[in-house]
């Protein structure tokens, strides 16, 4: 694991705070049900922090102050327990699917980041998304794939980091992404459904179907860990059957005949 040595424990706390604040700010609606904290934590606020110009806060300076660091523990909540009953109704599922779709250009696209990020710090993503976290009413999902070092390689923040200036060239795009494929098929009533999507970059089923998944997508049996034992992936989606038996008409005279590698 690449953790620059400059990140000390205290720094890591700050990173959590950055990520949390970023996420909460980015979702853009207040979290109801928060009780004011009192006591020791506010004592540490006595030393005034320097004022930051508003324009400077748009970029990296947005972030935690001491209040957040000290009240962080109270922000983190708990999801449903493993054995809790899982509500299911088609409306919840439709809502969950729509919510996923809003963050993806097409089914299977890497989701955009819905909150501002400190894009230069590779460790901050994993503070919340490494194992998944509940923060008030919000959920930071656990990453669905193996760890990579460069999160922003694939995930772009929807709120730009760049300060000032206009919005740049804006051209509408008529691309319509593939929809979620719907539910998996069942061989018979009561049979375990097949996996209706690729498992590429979604190796970790609990990311969406575990206890921290969106209601409507959660598994009724999250304690079972070997998902593909019962749920079969699709050969087409898993790129296991790539070569099309019938080349297109413009493939040419020899394509599809020569046995190459």
């Amino acid at each position: 694991m690449v953790v620059p040595s400059k990140i000390l424990v205290i720094g890591a706390l700050g990173v959590v705070a950055v990520a949390l604040v970023g996420m909460v700010v980015g979702f853009g609606h207040p979290a109801p049900g928060w009780q004011p904290t009192t006591g020791a934590s506010s004592d540490r606020l006595s030393a005034a922090l320097p004022a930051v110009h508003y324009r400077d806060m748009d970029g990296k300076a947005r972030g935690p102050n001491r209040a957040y660091t000290s009240t962080l523990a109270t922000l983190v909540g708990h999801g449903p327990a493993l054995m809790d009953a899982v509500p299911f109704d088609p409306t919840l599922r439709a809502e969950a699917v729509a919510r996923r779709a809003a963050r993806r250009a097409y089914n299977g696209a890497p989701p955009i980041i819905p909150h501002p990020v400190d894009a230069n710090d590779v460790t901050s993503c994993y503070q919340c998304h490494g194992e998944g976290k509940v923060i008030g009413p919000l959920i930071a999902p656990k990453i669905s794939h193996q760890r990579y070092t460069n999160c922003t390689q694939c995930h772009a923040p929807v709120v730009t980091e760049t300060p000032g200036g206009s919005q740049g060239l804006v051209v509408e795009n008529s691309f319509v992404g593939a929809a979620s494929a719907g539910r998996g098929s069942r061989a018979y009533v009561g049979a375990p459904p097949t996996i209706p999507h690729t498992t590429s970059m979604r190796e970790n089923c609990t990311s969406c179907h575990g206890t921290l998944g969106l209601t409507g997508l959660r598994s009724s049996h999250p304690w079972r860990v070997n998902c593909t034992q019962c749920h079969a992936p699709s050969a087409v989606l898993e790129q296991a059957r790539f070569d099309d038996p019938s080349p297109p008409p413009w493939a040419g005279e020899t394509a599809g005949q020569t046995t190459g590698k």
Partner: protein, 812 residues
Amino acid sequence: MNDLDRRAFLKTSAMAAAAAMILPHLGSAAEGDAQAGDGIRWDKAPCRFCGTGCGVLLGAKDGKIVAMQADKEASVNKGLCCVKGYHVGLILYGQDRLTVPQKRVDGKLVPISWEEAIAIIRDRISAAPAKFAMYGSGQWTIPEGYAANKFVKGGLGHNHIDPNARLCMASAAAGFNATYGVDEPAGCYDDLDHCTVLIDWGNNPAEMHPVLFSRVMDRRLKGDKVLYIDLTTRRTRSSEQADHVAFFKPNTDLAVANGIAHLLVKAGFLDKPWVDKFFRLRQRVAEYAPDPTKRDVYDAEAIHPKNLIGKDITREEYVKNLEFYTPEKVEEISGVPASLIRLMAEKMADPNERVLSWWCMGPNQHTRGTAMNSLLHSIHHLSGQWGKPGASAFSLTGQPSACGTAREVGTFSHLLPGHLPVLNPHYREVTEELWHLPKGRISDKIGFHTVKMWEEFCTDGGAIDTIWVQVTNPGQTLPHQNKLFLAKKERKGKFLIVSDVYPTATTALADLVLPSAMYVEKNGMYGNAERKQQQWFKMVEPPGQARPDAWQVLAVSKAMFDAGFPGMKDKDGEWIFAKTLKKADGSLIPAWDFAHYYDVNVDERLFEEYRPFTKIKHKDLAPYAVYAKAHGLRWPVVEKTPGNWEETLWRFVEGKDPYVKPGTGLQFYHSNTKDDKAFIWWHPYEAAPEEPDAEYPFWLCTGRVLEHWHSGTMTMRVPPLQRSMPHAYIEIHPDDAIALHVRSGDKVTVESRRGSLTLPAWIKGRGQPPKGSCFVPFFDERLQINLVTKDYHDPFSKQPDFKKCAVRLRKA
């Protein structure tokens, strides 16, 4: 928590809330009942963007691309893309696609028919063929570039065709040629899986080659030790993951390389057995010390072999030349700590380490680009960090087919297909033979390189009066825009033809605009930075009347032939593309008529005609049908047993390269000195032709960002990318910002001797330049930094230096 701070916080979060609301949600179609995979046809293609060459699977449904996946079988990216690749299909669907040919009438573009457009080009070229030039790109597919190359060099009998790759990796090509006698890397991306030390030379792979960057960095997650050293001119995302970051002053990378060579020599590496056996010590010819400020001297010097390959020097001379470059002296020149130079030399000297150097535009866009590229190869030769998996010097490229189309197909003004120099009479004969042309058709004069071509075009009475641009955007990417592009407005009798997919800064000045089919709207083939060719089939129809660039060239060529233009005839008086398009029964497929373009796979016909050229310099390509099946193959691709085509991972290495004789160990079989030896070069460090002074006190560097690709024509039309990075900015060091009274978001005017631009500042943003320097990305067509850059270029490669010039800054 004080009041001001709280207020600022509340305002920030309030703004973030409002900002989140203005952005439309990404729309996926409504979820249907369809079963998984139903109705989506998946097919492979390389990514449309950079030179990495990731394999992508695109899913088409009802005639539209609807989804993408990273190709797990692609050896380059193994099932992982970057954010651009995951959204590559969206580039087809920007709402302002060009769909009809247009002609400028009284300053306005008006729709015309394809027939009229082709006739205009035919007449314009036929009237003055010598004053016509073609400007293409490393985004041409291999068959497209081949057709254009044949059209100009075989049909018009001159060599005024050049790709935008001249702005991108011409210095890398010149460095390979100067060192090995043949172009392109000996190693491949597999080196990334084996290296133990990785050195950046002025590149930012975390943003520019993210997939390759992760390929190395993710090894660390698995417990591999990779020491990562970032030599850079500004702090970048890559720096964040480096073990050592050192900032060098612009242009001093030559001094750093010499510093390493100095220490290797002191450590006795000249006595190592491989030095005498495989290499010669070399330096440039003494009488040729070019000064890029003197353009006439530059232009008199073509890429002459004598200058490019230099001359032998003795061991004593080599040692004496390096004497000056002690680590302390190099620290003084470059700013790189002497301790780090020692560390790099120690790592290179350690036979247990596998040291990989990689670079991209830093050493290429450099007025000493050829020299710097040569030095990078040389320190690896000297140290023995070469020819073993993981020990290599690797040149990255920026365009998907800079290697495949610009370099291998030879669309440069000094090359013929197969990377054959046009100055060589034998190669001209071979080409005339293969193209079935009369002797002497191919000109023995090197054509105009990019800068010269546009300079002539933008000069009244200049040698070029018509340019046909395909697949590139010179109105944004040429340096010194005022001189090399915008001056066209004031010139009389100049005619600009542009084939493109969207309106650009180039179409803004075009007299004729042709709508092109792009990417998977046509068949295609690209060649990436590691010598890998990747093929794809057309998956969807282009919009409106958009048509492939190769068709456009064929149609013009046929129209000229029909009008009796002598150059379009081969030695039997037939059309020069007749042999390409003949059926077995001798009849001609009328592919110039678009209704019949897909009667046959024109790509395959052109590619098979091109293949014999590739064997001449051992860049052997397999038959088209093999690529149709494979997920890319690295040349030379040799048929080991019938039907079994094998790629080559490491060139010049015994046991890896099929052309190396057993028992040789290493064999540089295209050696400039015909003795199977490559070179260890010596080049001095020299100051840049324009350095900051009292009047223009800042260095300016330009470059890219992760989300956008080159001039942004495609990526600025992809909502997730555009939103994430909506406009250009200028990075300034915080201390300089204080001195200028500039805060993040304030507008700053950056001004050089050539032009100026005003854009917002980003302090402590994604990158941070050292004090006294600034950085601006070039993707934003509304904030064009190339108004400010200069057109000085390397004497050999003719590649301009976009990475450094002197500017002044003021708050706007």
